[in-house]
Amino acid sequence: MNNELSEYRADAGLSQADLAERVGVSRQTINAIERERYDPSLELAFELSDHFDCLIEDLFDPESEEDG
């Protein structure tokens, strides 16, 4: 699943560790999501979208991987 997490994180001026601390996961998990090696649970996806005050669809795009 494609995502814009690294862009949102960079715009907010946060490191992976900062974001990990704020949403309660490890830095490696944030890294794995950004590299699209791990798809987060709904709970974590909501947590991330809440944190960046955006919609889940703005952060995650399940369609684009197959389209590309």
Partner: protein
């Protein structure tokens, strides 16, 4: 009683701290066991090793801190599932073959192999029971 002040730590630091504490418990236990074996205090070494292991499990299960996040838990489940899957081939293919060889008299299974075979059967039996209980609950 030792009180640990984790209030000044953030979540990641607290998690790291508990991981280190768990590592120290089991690591200390292993060192004590090896030292006991080498110095002739095997029983004492074993008791300390058990205490270290129980300490590690006690910290893991006793703390309210989530020590492993969802990705780490998923990795754990996948590794456990894959291990069971790989070893199921040993049971599914090897079990009947050993029985067949013994029945035709071309191979006598040593008692150790029977023991390993029954241990495998018990492992998969336990897996089946736990899986069924979880399926009924979910």
């Amino acid at each position: 009683m030792i009180r640990i002040d984790t209030a000044s730590m953030n979540r990641l630091e607290t998690r790291r701290f508990y991981h280190r504490l768990m590592g120290a418990c089991i690591g200390g236990g292993i060192v004590a066991y090896l030292t006991g074996v080498l110095s002739g205090y095997v029983i004492l070494g074993t008791v300390i090793y058990w205490a270290g292991f129980l300490g590690m499990v006690g910290i893991w299960k006793g703390t309210s801190i989530e020590l492993y996040d969802e990705r780490e838990q998923q990795l754990d489940r996948e590794a456990a599932g894959l291990t069971l899957w790989v070893f199921s081939f040993v049971l599914v293919l090897g079990g009947p073959a050993l029985f067949a060889l013994e029945t035709v008299g071309s191979y006598d299974m040593p008692p150790e192999l029977w023991g390993a075979f029954y241990a495998y059967c018990v492992l998969y039996l336990i897996f089946g029971v736990i899986y069924t209980v979880h399926r009924k609950r979910s």
